[in-house]
Symmetry: C2
């Protein structure tokens, strides 16, 4: 095992930040080269399931949809926008969802580098969370109906315009929730909630350190801490993000770049902290442990320190691995501390996920949580979206939209029923994001294959 | 560091059990040899504080009291009953307590072997918990009054007839609580409560493994689990104790002697457990970790496997140390598990202890917890008391009584006001214990020194 998948579940906000306006690399090189679309790696099952229909041009045959497919390990260009052919077949217990928005997670950045072992080998469609509208029901599905707005969780495969998923992996969206919010919620909020309330048992009046407080999990955790009275939140982020995270509930924003954050925290809270959420790994985990007060809890849920550039960095991985926190039980006893590991991908407890998702949706309805959308990108801009997260420029969630950009050169006639995209909550970064869109604009041709 | 103090906070019920009627070794050799009393190692402060009074035979001068003093490291005979001279002085903020009953903890067994680093070097008076009646108040004490029945917590020094302690280390006993119960409650129930509800956050419907379920912490933890709905308790104990621990709330008693307890538990609970409390250490900690389900919590609070015979066993210590559970954060992440260490002695959070003690006393008043007294021994029988715990014959708490046995050969004239000992709840082992008393009876002469 390596530190590979360790960093898989968070959006690193920390680590080196580059210039605000990085040069555009060929993020979707195939498209840029004149709009050729790679063949879909996973033939839609309708086609496979009904080979005898091939001679007749049925509705399934002419139906195509856009999907973001990882075609190999490497840089941004390895994620390609492809056209899949044939409407996905729906098995018993499944529903067909017209996807409106998708969440980008750090797991996909790692997966692209070949560092996320839960992702099947390329070619594979990415995407662990999305939102959309149910378009068709499989047999035995009674809990959902056509037209239901749902959010969806999966191990991968959701970054496509339509997707067939088990109804049990869908959750009805609250009426007031936008598709962007729905796509932003599952992974980050499940991770934050389970760490805070299942593992750490955070209580009123306690203190907590949230690293990468401007990232998706960081913002979710900060909001969830506000559901308790008087929780003191320390949040690390670069100085430019302090105002925003303060508004979100961080009591003490800490700039980890210009000073030793542990020292800063000790000055304010000399007795130590009740909880530290650590997505960094390596030497930061040692600091985290030392910052805990007796009866405190450290939860490690990533090893973002492993990941630096666009491609696998063996040196960073080795360093993080070498510094990995290891502890024996006697030291834990002397310290009266708890050390936990959390990784949603390895959890495998559907019942707990189901229960927690329902709790989160209830909290949303009560106005206690609200995903913060950093920026939205169309599928053809996935490279830019990934770069934004990779370079830690986001404050909140980066969202991918399946529908082509407004300057569509081709309209898919089968998709006229498709509703216009909901914009959801846009933040103060929206303007910057729009500029980026402009700079990276590329023509997209949707072709049947 | 070694595994020394690791086993310090529990009463081992597990491990090898010997015959029911072990040969009596010279547990209080000085007394047995004709009742000589060793000089007290810690001159009562009244004597020190008022040297000018020495020529006059003041009340302080003639006042003496019995104390159990560790005189060196080794077997049972190293704990000696001594007479201290001069009433303990009471500093500002302190109270003088007439001790009625004391709790015996595994820490004292370890301390006697030189394996409990929190205990000062001999000569030192032992005793971390007791109950009694307040006899006098120091300056500035307004929260207590003379005649209050209190239980007392301290790092050591409570095994004596009268003791001066900070009022803040005393807690008013509920009216219905016996002195034996009060002496049995603090260490075991604080340990169990904090592990279950501060660290593990046990909730209704969960499952838990309690090792040494017939020991003091085991019984406390079992009772505390009954305060929640539908907690499934697995409890290891020798078969002869199963009926008793079942009555106390253990759902599945497991005999660890005749079969592999982990295998037994997996048969009943194939998905694993939510919580394991591990006072054993060594290879048992590995089993404990493997028994957890995802999101499960392991709490190590001892290394009873270190301790075998009456004296330090280097081989057992080395084996336990060699097998000590060590884990890195990546493995924790893959497993989605929590590993905690707990040791009340190292906690150092008076506020938390105070809060928890009050919670426990409230639970006692509500009838939700009730310490189970295994047996009571007079101070002069401390060797027998230690042997009973060391050989894992107890079910519940072993209590020490400061007053001399009924067949007192000397009555201390200063102590006429002393009330007769309360017997508290006696269990079905009482009869056996009485037999032991008879077999080990020794004359005690109380002398002024």
């Amino acid at each position: 095992m390596s530190c590979e998948e360790a960093a898989a579940q968070q959006q690193p906000e920390q680590a080196e930040e580059k210039t605000d306006d990085p040069p555009i690399e060929e993020p979707l090189s195939e498209l840029a080269k004149g709009g050729e679309i790679s063949p879909a790696e996973e033939p839609a099952e309708a086609v496979v399931a009904n080979p005898e229909k091939a001679p007749v041009a049925s509705e399934e045959d002419v139906f195509t949809y856009r999907a973001l497919v990882l075609t190999g390990y490497g840089g941004y260009e390895k994620v390609k926008l492809q056209m899949k052919k044939g409407k996905p077949s729906i098995k018993s217990g499944e529903v067909l969802v017209r996807v409106k928005a998708c969440g980008l997670n750090f797991a996909e950045l790692l997966g692209r580098q070949g560092l996320y072992e839960l992702l099947p080998s390329p070619p594979v469609t990415l995407g662990m969370e999305c939102s959309g509208v149910i378009e068709a029901l499989g047999e035995d599905v009674t809990s959902r109906k056509v037209g239901d707005r749902v959010l969806v969780l999966s191990r991968h495969g959701l970054w496509q315009e339509v997707v067939a998923v088990p109804a049990s992996q869908t959750f009805i969206m609250p009426e007031s929730m936008s598709f962007e919010e729905a796509a932003a919620l599952p992974i980050n909020y499940l991770t934050a909630y389970m760490m805070l309330f299942e593992m750490a048992n955070v209580r009123a009046g306690q203190s907590i350190l949230i690293h990468m407080a401007a990232g998706g999990v960081g913002i979710a955790a900060t909001q969830l801490c506000q559901t308790l009275e008087g929780v003191t939140v320390f949040g690390t982020a670069s100085a430019s993000k302090h105002e925003t995270i303060s508004q979100g509930g961080v009591t003490h924003p800490v700039d980890y770049r210009t000073r030793d954050y542990a020292e800063e925290i000790r000055k304010i809270s000399p007795k130590g902290l009740d909880v530290v959420l650590d997505p960094l790994g390596g030497s930061d985990t040692h600091k985290a442990f030392s910052l805990l007060k007796p009866m405190g809890t450290l939860i490690v849920f990533g090893a973002a320190n492993c990941v630096t550039g666009q491609k696998k960095n063996l040196l960073a991985m080795a360093k993080t691995w070498y510094n990995q926190f290891t502890i024996n039980t006697l030291r834990l006893m002397h310290a009266n501390k708890a050390v936990c590991g959390f990784h949603l991908g390895y959890l495998g407890d559907d019942e707990l996920i189901f229960k927690t998702m329902n709790t989160l949706l209830e909290l949303y309805i009560q106005g206690k949580i609200k995903p913060r959308i950093d920026s939205t990108y169309h599928f053809e801009q996935v490279g830019d979206a990934m770069r934004r997260m990779h370079e830690r420029n986001n404050i909140g969630k980066v969202i991918l939209l399946p529908e082509p950009k407004a300057e569509k050169e081709v309209e898919n006639s089968e998709e006229k029923a498709k509703s216009s995209p909901e914009q959801g909550e846009m933040d103060d970064k929206k303007e910057e994001e729009v500029k980026k869109e402009e700079s990276s604009q590329e023509g997209v041709k949707s072709e049947e294959n």
